[in-house]
Symmetry: C2
Subunit: 156 residues, 2 copies
């Protein structure tokens, strides 16, 4: 399990952060869900920007900007926003989190770790500016997103 996966899994219980300043800003369940949904939608916009660049006219700056957003969010310990019970509730909309998120920590560690790795690699490859390499890495990153959705997100 890499550093990102560890921090995500570690963030899953309030116990793990008792006594830290962060406990103050985890907020209520609905706050956690709204912040989660906001972060994923921000990453979705960024994924859309990268996709448009690899499928159309390539602009290095746009890809770097978008990849940096995804990398920063992927490294921001979003696990804190998955407190027990937050598989039920409404942020901007009802959460689609499956309760398996709280029980299947082995799978969670794998998919979260893979996402963090692919997000970091995406930022590196974007900085390199090779459109073909970016396209390939974008595919890997998309698969990493899907890996988590398949396991832990309910269908709409």
């Amino acid at each position: 399990m890499n550093k990102i996966a560890k921090s995500l899994v570690a963030g899953l219980t309030l116990t793990a952060i008792a006594g830290t300043a962060l406990a103050q800003v985890i907020g209520k369940t609905e706050d956690q869900i709204r912040w989660r949904q906001s972060a994923y939608h921000t990453m979705a916009w960024s994924m859309g920007r990268i996709k448009a660049n690899v499928e159309g006219t390539y602009n290095k700056d746009q890809v770097v900007e978008a990849a940096n957003v995804i990398q920063a969010i992927a490294n921001s310990k979003m696990g804190y926003l998955y407190q027990p019970g937050s598989d039920k509730g409404k942020g901007w909309k009802e959460t689609r989190l499956k309760s398996a998120f709280f029980t299947d920590k082995e799978t969670l560690g794998k998919v979260a770790g893979n996402f963090g790795q692919q997000a970091n690699d995406m930022a590196k490859v974007a900085a390199g500016g090779d459109a073909a390499a970016v396209k390939a890495q974008f595919g890997k990153l998309g698969e990493a997103c899907k890996g988590c959705h398949d396991k832990f997100r309910e269908e709409e």
Copy 2:
């Protein structure tokens, strides 16, 4: 006007991006508003994390992670998400954007430029790890956020 302000203002008309891949991902007005609201809420969570650290127990990693998210979003040319007419409409909720956003470009350039500068400085200061300096910079960044809200966001 610094680079961020220029890119924001430049992103305000579709003309400026005609022919680029990005035009494909600006989406409809409601998409722009939802993506905007998502990005601001993601930054709000990050601001809350920094605040909790400067007011409570200081954890350098948490502050760096949060500052990096704000910096990445601040540099992601969110101006593209402010197409003409997007002062009316609903993303996650009704937009509070004032129509002055589209007419008072001089003020917009100033407040956007200041925000970009303070966000970049926040990330630098966070990396330095000096809690007192972070607290001071957090104040400046908060003022930069407020500068735009005061001018271009309707009260709730």
